[in-house]
């Protein structure tokens, strides 16, 4: 009879279920070992014990190549603006001031010609794609292991890496204006006025070559509108 079969199967499955949960209670006497992803037993030991991490007090080891918070070594940065251009979510905000002469060298020997007046990364916007790190010519922009950057204020997610004080910025701007004026006075026929109008684009010829690269790379980013389209049709 289906009636009694029903009862029996119900009793069986119910007791099975109770057994399962009771095992969990039993196991909860101990915490499971917090092993990192590197550990070979990372997936196998998932079941037994309490899996919760009491986070502020303890945390899972992160692998060294973890890609979490962005970090810019401002000393090595030549303010080439490539990272800002390539960023799909526009989370990097850069403002550079042309220096009148070479202001220093990076660790790999590239000479720095531009002051970084502003180098802000909005981590709230960041999508951790890592494109900026790949385009960085001096490898000054890197992703770090640090994943805990919770804050109370939203604005605190904007990390500033520029080290210049407002006074310095003003001074450097003044210097630039001065030298510009000098140049226009000395050479009435300059080769190209354009860089003057758009200081941001006035990059050295070498950087111009590199800047050309992203253009063929654009199709790589094309999928974005495509994805959007797809979403729209889904809706």
């Amino acid at each position: 009879m289906a009636y009694f079969k029903n009862i029996i199967s119900a009793a069986k499955t119910l007791s099975k279920g109770l057994g399962v949960t009771f095992n969990h209670i039993k196991e909860s006497r101990r915490s499971s070992n917090q092993v990192g992803i590197n550990d070979p037993s990372y997936f196998s030991e998932f079941e037994s014990g309490i899996n919760t991490l009491q986070y502020p007090h303890e945390s899972i080891p992160v692998p060294d190549n973890g890609r979490y918070k962005l970090h810019n070594e401002i000393d090595d940065c030549i303010v080439c603006d490539k990272c800002a251009k390539v960023c799909p979510v526009d989370c990097i905000d850069i403002e550079g001031i042309k220096a009148t002469e070479i202001i220093g060298k990076t660790s790999d020997g590239t000479s720095k010609r531009i002051h970084a007046a502003k180098f802000d990364i909005d981590m709230a916007k960041c999508c951790f794609c890592g494109l900026c790190t790949t385009v960085c010519p001096t490898e000054c922009l890197t992703m770090t292991k640090s994943y805990d950057f919770s804050v109370y204020d939203f604005a605190d997610h904007i990390y500033s890496f520029a080290t210049m004080t407002p006074l310095e910025i003003l001074e450097k701007k003044k210097l630039l204006e001065q030298s510009e004026m000098e140049r226009t006075v000395a050479k009435p026929l300059p080769s190209k006025p354009k860089p003057v109008i758009k200081p941001k684009l006035s990059i050295s010829s070498k950087s111009e070559e590199i800047a050309a690269k992203p253009k063929p790379a654009k199709p790589v980013f094309k999928p974005r509108p495509m994805i959007k389209k797809k979403k729209n049709t889904d809706d």
């Binding site: 279920g17 109770l18 949960t21 969990h24 209670i25 079941e47 309490i50």
Partner: protein, 365 residues
């Protein structure tokens, strides 16, 4: 009066602990820790929550019918709390000794349906009303097998007084009934007299093993009666946004929760008293090792009070634990499943078992 004095604090403490316990148990079942931060091992978490609730604003929706809305939680609470009045805690003390004890308990507890309906209706919210109607239909439906299963026990014990039932299930039965005799499994023809042995052997569930399935039915129905998972359709957070108490907040919500935990405690107590030897010790006297007598104490002595309360609470807490355990194991049933379980399975089974209980009773005499 003594009922209030004893049970109200007990209920409050229990509720606080039970909520804590529930959170912990749910956490453990889900491989979590549960509350850990407030107090040692999160012990003060419920207290903190309670304090928070008490200072919350008492919101009454504008379109609610105000008087009913305000009074409903108290109706529920009073109905549940009145049930405690007949529960015996000690051999020498029980709230109110009325000879219709269990019957009264079942009757008065069934009143909380009214409270739930008032709450649901007065909220003037369709989720609340749905929850209330579900709750009422569920409670009414499950009252039938519940009563039947209780009657099974009553057939065996031949009394409605919970204190009498308690006395029957232990070594003290002789001190209360002059000629009481307990036999192993109630089979008098087997002639294994367990009157002096006591302990677990004289608990109802072993005095008449037919009560084991009865207890299962009893237990399932009490779950439904107290709207506990997997029968928590009336509250159904995911579909009905907590059902009849959707609109309640703050202190009144706390009272509703208190009633719910009170109901858990009450049904657990009732289960323990009816099936698991009430305040009697589980240890039997084995020959000269009078474990049972030692862990019972002289009636009236402080030791006796201690042991009785201890055993009763331990057993009750175990029952409560089982309720929680079940809650976090099973998914919520559907309404039709609920009804078919109640009417097609539990009720007939309870009827059949009632018949067998009567047979067992005949063998006991």
């Amino acid at each position: 009066m003594s009922t209030i004095l004893f049970f109200l604090p007990l209920l409050l403490v229990f509720a606080v602990l039970a909520i804590y316990g529930e959170r912990k148990i749910s956490a453990f079942i889900q491989n979590r820790y549960g509350p850990m931060e407030t107090g040692y091992y999160g012990l003060l978490q419920t207290v903190a929550d309670l304090l928070k609730l008490l200072q919350k604003e008492d919101i009454v929706p504008r379109v609610a019918s105000k008087a009913l809305f305000l009074v409903a939680p108290f109706v529920i609470f009073v109905a549940v709390f009145a049930g405690f009045s007949v529960v015996p805690v000690l051999p020498t003390w029980q709230g109110a000794s009325i000879n219709t004890g269990v019957f009264f308990l079942l009757a008065i507890v069934s009143l909380d349906v009214i409270g739930i309906i008032i709450a649901g209706w007065a909220s003037n919210n369709k989720y609340s009303l749905l929850g209330a109607v579900r709750s009422a239909s569920q409670i009414i439906s499950y009252e039938v097998p519940l009563t039947l299963s209780v009657v099974c026990v009553l057939v065996v014990t031949q009394s409605l007084d919970l204190q009498v039932i308690s006395f029957q299930q232990g070594v003290l039965s002789n001190s209360y009934f002059a000629d009481a005799e307990n036999y192993l499994f109630g089979l008098s023809f087997a002639n294994v007299n367990t009157t002096e042995i006591g302990g677990v052997l004289t608990w109802n569930i072993l005095r008449a093993p037919v009560l084991i399935p009865v207890w299962i039915i009893f237990f399932i129905t009490t779950l439904a009666e107290s709207n506990r998972a997997p029968f928590d359709l009336p509250e159904a957070e995911s579909e009905l946004v907590s059902g009849f108490h959707t609109e309640y907040s703050g202190f009144r919500w706390a009272i509703i929760m208190l009633s719910e935990y009170g109901m858990m405690l009450l049904t657990s107590l009732l289960g323990v008293i009816l099936f698991f030897g009430s305040w009697n010790t589980p240890f039997p006297n084995i020959g000269s090792i009078k474990l049972a007598s030692w862990t019972t104490g002289e009636v009236g002595s402080m030791a006796s009070v201690f042991w009785a309360v201890l055993w009763l609470l331990i057993k009750t807490i175990i029952m409560v634990f089982i309720q929680m355990w079940i809650r976090w194991t099973y998914p919520r049933v559907r309404l039709d499943q609920l009804m078919s379980l109640g009417w097609k399975y539990l009720t007939p089974a309870a009827l059949v078992l009632l018949f067998f209980s009567a047979l067992w009773r005949l063998m006991m005499v």
